[in-house]
């Protein structure tokens, strides 16, 4: 029974998402595209924090590195198809994941968290200073005129809002599938076990460091992919794409949705983007409000929307049992 409701729900969402651009205005299509890209980023963060229990607070660094790499290739290798630059950006995230992971994973808990921030700040500092490569605080632009070639189909301008929507949509669906698959593999399961009892995992004969490093590479890949997609979408890249405030935003989105749940980041991005959109239109102090909102969530609803929903459905089940006993 539950299974078919789930499947029906998923299909419904998919169909609605596919039909959305036919009924929605450009602005909302734009918004939803942004939401989807953030969902990809959020999913990669879920694998780190929700699934494996690794509290990274510098996750935006992979997002930014993916974005900058794609931007650089777009600018400097003009004959390269845009789709390929996307892949290269994603791959740069993978490399960054391995590199940073190899250094931060040897540290424990608090140190680990802080080291993730430190490395992301280091990269941010480099992005800021190295004007020759990254454009400094002006960032990089210049690919809005490019076209994205979809094999077997047409070429689409990067200014085509609807195209970007469907591009983001297909990549998001793809990401959800491979992340879901990842959690079902032995490696995914091992990482859950690490979250539950890392000491015992060690004594089962499993090399935890390698497992975590593989995770870092994978999440770096996904985050890098979302970053690359993002800069295609925004037509620019700047150092603030990988600063601590961006990392904080990732955390906020995850907490809103429920950071221990697979669906959390997706729901969280949706709520976050619309909240920011609404709040920023009525006040300049929206960042303050979001910050306070975040703190209240942590204090009173740390399990986020998914947590609230679970609580609610448990109460329903309990009540219905009482009635029919």
């Amino acid at each position: 029974m539950n299974r078919s409701i789930e499947t029906f729900g998923i299909l419904l969402v998919l169909i609605l998402a596919i039909l959305y651009p036919l009924v929605a205005g450009k602005f909302h299509i734009y918004l939803l595209t942004e939401i989807m890209i953030y969902s990809i980023l959020g999913l990669s963060y879920y694998l780190l924090l929700g699934h494996t229990g690794l509290l990274s607070i510098g996750h935006a660094v992979y997002f930014g590195i993916g974005g900058y790499t794609t931007a650089l290739f777009l600018q400097r290798v003009p004959n390269l198809p845009v789709s390929l630059t996307l892949l290269i950006g994603a791959f740069s995230g993978l490399l960054a994941g391995f590199l940073i992971g190899s250094m931060v994973l040897r540290l424990t808990k608090i140190y680990f968290s802080f080291a993730t921030l430190a490395f992301s700040q280091m990269v941010w500092a480099i992005a800021w200073k190295w004007r020759g490569l990254t454009g400094g605080d002006d960032g990089l632009t210049g690919w809005s005129a490019r076209e994205f070639v979809v094999p077997f189909l047409d070429r689409f301008s990067l200014t085509n809002v609807t195209f970007l929507y469907y591009l983001a949509f297909s990549i998001t669906v793809f990401t959800i599938v491979i992340c879901w698959y990842f959690t079902r593999t032995p490696l995914g399961n091992t990482l859950s076990a690490v979250k539950s009892n890392p000491n015992r995992v060690n004594f089962l004969g499993i090399n935890i460091s390698v497992a975590k490093l593989m995770l870092f590479g994978f999440t770096g890949l996904i985050a890098g992919l979302s970053g690359s997609l993002f800069i295609l979408f925004k037509k620019m890249v700047a150092p603030n794409f990988l600063d601590m405030f961006m990392s904080f935003d990732v955390v906020v989105m995850s907490v809103i949705g429920g950071y221990s749940s697979f669906l959390g980041p997706i729901i969280g991005s949706f709520v976050y983007v619309y909240m920011v959109e609404y709040l920023s239109s009525i006040t300049d102090r929206w960042q303050l409000i979001m910050g306070v909102f975040f703190m209240l969530l942590i204090l009173f609803y740390p399990k986020g929307i998914v947590g609230m929903f679970n609580q609610f459905s448990r109460k329903l089940t309990f009540l219905s049992r009482k009635n029919y006993l």
């Binding site: 924090l49 229990g53 509290l55 607070i57 250094m103 931060v104 040897r106 540290l107 808990k109 608090i110 140190y111 968290s113 802080f114 080291a115 921030l117 430190a118 490395f119 700040q121 280091m122 500092a125 480099i126 800021w128 200073k129 601590m244 405030f245 904080f248 955390v251 906020v252 907490v255 950071y259 102090r285 960042q287 303050l288 910050g291 306070v292 975040f294 703190m295 942590i298 204090l299 740390p302």
Partner: protein, 292 residues
């Protein structure tokens, strides 16, 4: 040019000392709290920043740096205790992750509040009139008296801390709690009061740092982020829970920043991270970190 640089080295060294001591003032409180309570208080450096802003405000009202120097750190100490009692306790039960997230959020909120009240432009705070001159150190090297004042004040505070920790009962309790909180509790120490005290003292120190840095570096809402990273670098290099280690590391970091800005300007920003990376690789627990 050569001789000029040669002259500069002692000056740079003094700069490094000043900056190092400033970091130590903030980081010392943080490392004690971190190792005792096992939480990473992101907002610790925010209190440092609040200290600087309160200093600015008090000077606006009273025109007296000295009043600010006394009052602002006290307010900061109080804020620290409030923070610990009010927020951190509440979230302690829901786990480390939530604790860290909460303090992270708090730091962001505090920054936004400062932005709201004071805007994003750096606020100038004048050096107190008694300390505006420069002093002749040797040959033709002049050094601002104010910076020497910072050194002297930090040294006094340091001595006070040392006395507190090594010679008083409270100090012994603190050290016991740092070593092994459960054991200290079992032996009758009121751990909860010790926590609050350490928090209060730590933030009081951060407040002092905030006040004395205000004329030196200027006051703006982003200043906490530089400090928190320097603090972390210093704690990572020196070792969690080791005040001596943090002191040594602060002095090292201070010199690295000072000389780095002059000799390796383009790389100076990431110099400190490179030092950290080195330490991570060679001694993940810091130079003087606790074993096991």
């Amino acid at each position: 040019m050569e001789s000029q640089l040669g002259m500069m080295i002692p000056v740079l060294f003094l700069h490094g000392l000043v900056y190092g001591m400033l970091i130590f003032l903030v980081a010392s409180g943080l490392t004690l709290v971190m190792s005792m309570m096992d939480i990473l208080n992101f907002a610790h450096a925010s209190i440092y920043m609040i200290g600087a802003f309160i200093c600015y405000q008090i000077i606006q009202w009273t025109n007296s740096f000295w009043i600010a120097l006394v009052v602002a750190p006290l307010i900061c100490g109080l804020l620290g205790i409030l923070m610990e009692r009010g927020l951190i306790r509440k979230v302690h039960a829901s786990g480390h992750v939530n604790e860290l997230l909460l303090t992270f959020g708090l730091a962001m909120v505090i920054m936004e509040v400062m932005k709201w009240i004071y805007g994003t432009n750096p606020l100038p705070v004048p050096v107190p009139p008694q300390l505006t001159q420069s002093v002749q150190l040797w040959s033709d090297v002049k050094y601002p008296v104010y910076r020497l004042f910072i050194l002297v004040l930090s040294a006094v505070v340091l001595a006070f801390m040392f006395y507190l920790l090594k010679r008083t009962r409270l100090g012994i309790s603190i050290r016991a709690c740092v070593q092994d909180g459960e054991m200290a509790h079992a032996l009758g120490t009121n751990v909860s009061i010790v926590f609050a005290t350490v928090m209060g003292i730590g933030t009081w120190l951060a407040g002092i740092a905030g006040v004395i840095v205000a004329p030196y570096l200027s006051v703006y809402p982003g200043m906490f982020s530089d400090m928190i990273l320097d603090c972390f670098a210093v704690i990572a290099v020196g070792g969690l829970g080791s005040l001596g280690g943090v002191l040594v590391a602060s002095l090292i970091v201070g010199q690295v920043q000072s000389f780095g800005v002059i000799y390796l300007p383009s790389v100076s920003i990431i110099l400190i991270y490179l030092v950290m990376v080195l330490v991570f690789i060679v001694k993940p627990r810091g130079l003087f970190g606790k074993k096991e």
